[in-house]
Amino acid sequence: MMQFTHAAVTAPPLHPNGAHGLGLGLFLDVGAPRARPWPAGGFASTPPPLPTSSKISLGNLNSAGCMEQLLVHCANAIEANDATLTQQILWVLNNIAPADGDSNQRLTAAFLCALVTRASRTGACKAVTAAVAAAVESAALHVHRFTAVDLASFVDLTPWHRFGYMAANAAILDAVEGFPVVHVVDLSTTHCMQIPTLIDMLASRAEGPPILRLTVADVASCSSAPPPVLDMSYEELGAKLVNFARSRNVSMDFRVVPTSPADAFSSLVDQLRVQQLVLDGTEALVFNCHMLMHTVPDETAGSVSLAQSVSLRTMLLKSLRALEPALVVVAEEDADFTAGDVVGRLRAAFNFMWIPYDAVDTFLPKGSEQRRWYEAEVGWKVENVLAQEGVDRVERQEDRTRWGQRMRGAGFRPVAFGEEAAGEVRTMLNEHAAGWGMKREDDDLMLTWKGHNVVFASAWAPS
């Protein structure tokens, strides 16, 4: 007996066991098109009116917003241990965000990998089977081990690090004027790539070069040391730097201190305390903090010092202040990845990490090895933010305002960057793609991509 269904009257209630919608809850309410923060290539900068019967495809308009929404749905499903919904969304995402697609797709693919990694460690999505590992390669597997030469040219590809280097070096040069001995403590993720230029600048000082002491924080042995990874021992690196300094008539000594952000670099701080006891006022102590401070646990990390009820991050800044430095320069990414919930961090990271994916098209060709290294690094960061918890999550960025509050709270006052420094930075930016820019924010400098904040540089002296 043939029957055909008839025209609808009213929608019936969902099946009693379909509380979560049996996958029919997997709706993505596109709603009114969200204004995207970026006018990236191919997108309309103002959302178009909804088409009615036209044949305009809605696919690409707002696809980044849709992808973010799907990722959020996925993260929620994982947190709720809803294996079915998680799988359905992952299936959709795998299809719409191939790892070799456009910048939004590659961004989404990296987030997808991070969520899969997270899912494989939690609740309903239990064991990490070999199959999962094979199917979704963890970002950590692809992080490249650089030679010094490769790393030097790699960090120069984009202003991401160069910006901080230039601003910091200029501020350092100013601050150490008149001091015959300069002690730079390098708390950086990029393995002294900033230093050769600093040595040059010190060598050309009008009053002649100082004696340079360089102390480097070595966090490489920590469980979650952020990339890039240097394929060379610090001893060897240090020897090369010392030789280079000598060639510029700068007398330099180099010291490496293994230390860990997990205890606010206490081994390094302790050593410095001992050294400071024998100072005679001829030495300028400078802290160069380049992207490493955000790895020190903040209040949301739950690890609080027992002696005082403050976070390790606050303790570190107070320790630095107690050492009476001439200058502390801080270069950090202007983003906040400290939300306690994964969805909050996902949104924050998605709305920041689009920048490297968007920018990479301008300086690295598709399929190039360097692009793979670059995106692997970004992927590592995304995975760390989303899939790691506790001490293993080191990507705990805070924004410029928050860092400023911290520095002031620890007893520092801002030191503005001079016009010369700003000018040098602008000149450097001209070597890179047109999307890069710079602006002043209060006393700080801010690197921008298509008008969006990327990295800030700030300089501080004891108040």
């Binding site: 007996m1 269904t5 025209a7 929608a11 997997l26 690409n60 079915t84 359905q88 959709v92 899969v116």
Partner: protein, 506 residues
């Protein structure tokens, strides 16, 4: 001392699996030992997969000895039970009702000694029950008991949630369909068993966000007629239409109520010209088979496959159980089913959360295989190798499931079910198995239009009958269509999909 090929010793090594043709001949089991023996070696009985048991030979603390002894006893009881069940089945095949009853009574007694909460006991209780029904109940009442307040859809949903098999079926079929629809602006999915439409939200979402934008999507859902006062097909259609509307996919749904697939004629599907057609069959084809020995009964499968071929589907996704439960001999069939369902129950066990409803779903299949014969038996599972032959004879060509399908399947199965399940690929088909035993297989097919062009089909269409149907793409006034109009794709001219390939009507 090895106990021989005990049916529940699933090999851990996939290379030692029984192979895709599912052929299996049970070896005669040695009689169970008189009592537990200190030199009995342990091997992987289903409830012990994860545990690593100490060798009895090594000394270990007394408490562990007790536990080990109890386990040994249980294992022995399990072996004995299986032996008895198979003997009973053998007696049934030989027509010896009395012997079968006696063996079954012994089996029931053995059951008492076993925990029926897990392992051998759990699946054996269903087979014992089924044998009882076969022996003692009249044929009209041999269908499995239905727990109160449940129906097929309810059990299906629980089975869907509790283990990865239906999910694997859906996303593997969806992957093939999504890839086949690449570049097509008008697409039509024919679902042989729409149920609650669980398969389709993910596909709709993926189509919504595909580069270049979504196509105009039609879904034709086939399902059984609803009881009076309900219109299940319409309800599913409405929910899917709502979803499609929310993601801005032009959509229309049509329900076709039929008790069996051979009642469905191509013209009812109303394939429009220029549409890319996907036919989706998840665990449906086996119901159309007949007894291999029955040469008088013309099985509907060939007609249905011809019908599918006549639609010239861009993709025909087929998922079936990977087992031979259509063997004419009762003992063969019984034994094969015992192996198969013990693996499935084993995997249910291992997924942690027990699901009695999922078990009830499986119990119905077991009852059907054991108790029903002839036209009453629907669960006529056949292995992939035989399906490949049938589909090829019907003029369908195999479409390999690509690397994406394999990667997705591995990732998604791995995420939801932890250790034990694996997805293997062979000859462009995927199989999902438990500890090396393949349980479900997925394949994809297509049919090309006849070179000499289409023939007009005489039975065309009186589309007026059909337009009472809802959701059909018949016009913008249908409440089932999403948002914007159907853009004029309603030209369901009759003969569109129905081409050549012989007389479909019989």
């Amino acid at each position: 001392m090895a106990m021989g090929t005990f049916p529940f010793q699933w090999p851990m090594d996939p290379a030692a699996s029984t192979g895709l043709d599912g052929s299996f001949l049970p070896s005669l089991l040695p009689p169970p030992p008189a009592g537990s023996d200190d030199s009995v070696a342990y091997y992987g009985a289903p409830q012990m997969h994860a545990a690593s048991l100490p060798e009895l030979a090594a000394p270990f603390p007394p408490a562990a000895t007790d536990l080990a002894m109890r386990r040994a006893e249980e294992e022995v009881a399990g072996i004995r039970l299986v032996h008895l069940l198979m003997s009973s089945a053998g007696a049934i095949e030989a027509g010896d009702h009395a012997l079968a009853s006696a063996q079954l009574a012994d089996a029931n007694a053995s059951l008492a000694a076993l925990s029926t909460a897990s392992g051998i006991g759990r699946v054996a209780v269903h087979f014992t029950d089924a044998l009882s029904r076969r022996l003692f109940m009249s044929p009209t009442t041999t269908s499995a008991p239905q727990p109160p307040g449940t129906d097929a859809a309810f059990l299906y949903h629980h089975f869907y949630e509790a283990c990865p098999y239906l999910k694997f079926a859906h996303f593997t079929a969806n992957q093939a369909i999504l890839e086949a629809f690449h570049g097509c602006d008008a697409v039509h999915v024919v679902d042989f068993s729409i149920m609650q439409g669980l398969q389709w939200p993910a596909l709709i979402q993926a189509l919504a966000l595909r580069p270049g934008g979504p196509p105009f999507l039609r879904i034709t859902g086939i399902g059984p007629p609803s009881p009076p006062g309900r219109d299940d097909l319409r309800d599913v259609g409405l929910r899917l239409a709502d979803l499609a509307r929310s993601v801005r996919v032009r959509f229309s749904f049509r329900g076709v109520a039929a008790n069996t697939l051979d009642e469905v004629q191509p013209w009812m599907l109303q394939v429009a010209p220029g549409e890319a057609v996907a036919v989706n069959s998840v665990l449906q084809l086996h119901r159309l088979l007949a007894d291999p020995d029955d040469h008088h009964y013309h099985a509907p499968i060939d007609a249905v496959l011809d019908c599918v071929a006549s639609l010239h589907p861009k993709i025909f996704a087929v998922v079936e159980q990977e087992a031979d439960h259509n063997k004419p001999g009762f003992l063969d069939r019984f034994t094969e089913a015992l192996f198969y369902y013990s693996a499935v129950f084993d995997s249910l066990d291992a997924s942690g959360t027990g699901s009695p409803m999922a078990e009830a779903y499986l119990q119905r299949e077991i009852c059907d295989i054991v108790c029903n014969d002839g036209a009453a038996r629907a669960e006529r599972h056949e292995p992939l190798s035989r399906w490949r032959d049938r589909l090829a004879r019907a003029g369908l060509s195999a479409v390999p499931l690509g690397p994406s399908a394999l990667r997705q399947a591995r990732m998604l199965v791995g995420l939801s079910s932890g250790e034990g399940h694996s997805v293997e690929e062979a000859d462009g088909c995927l199989t999902l198995g438990w500890h090396g035993r393949p349980l479900f297989s997925a394949s994809a097919w297509q049919a090309f239009p006849a070179v000499d062009g289409a023939e007009e089909h005489p039975h065309n269409s009186n589309t007026s009958n059909v337009s009472g149907s809802s959701g059909g793409g018949d016009g913008g006034d249908s409440n089932n269509s999403a948002g914007s109009s159907n853009g004029g794709k309603t030209s369901h001219t009759h003969s569109s999909g129905v081409v050549g390939a012989g007389n479909m009507f019989w």
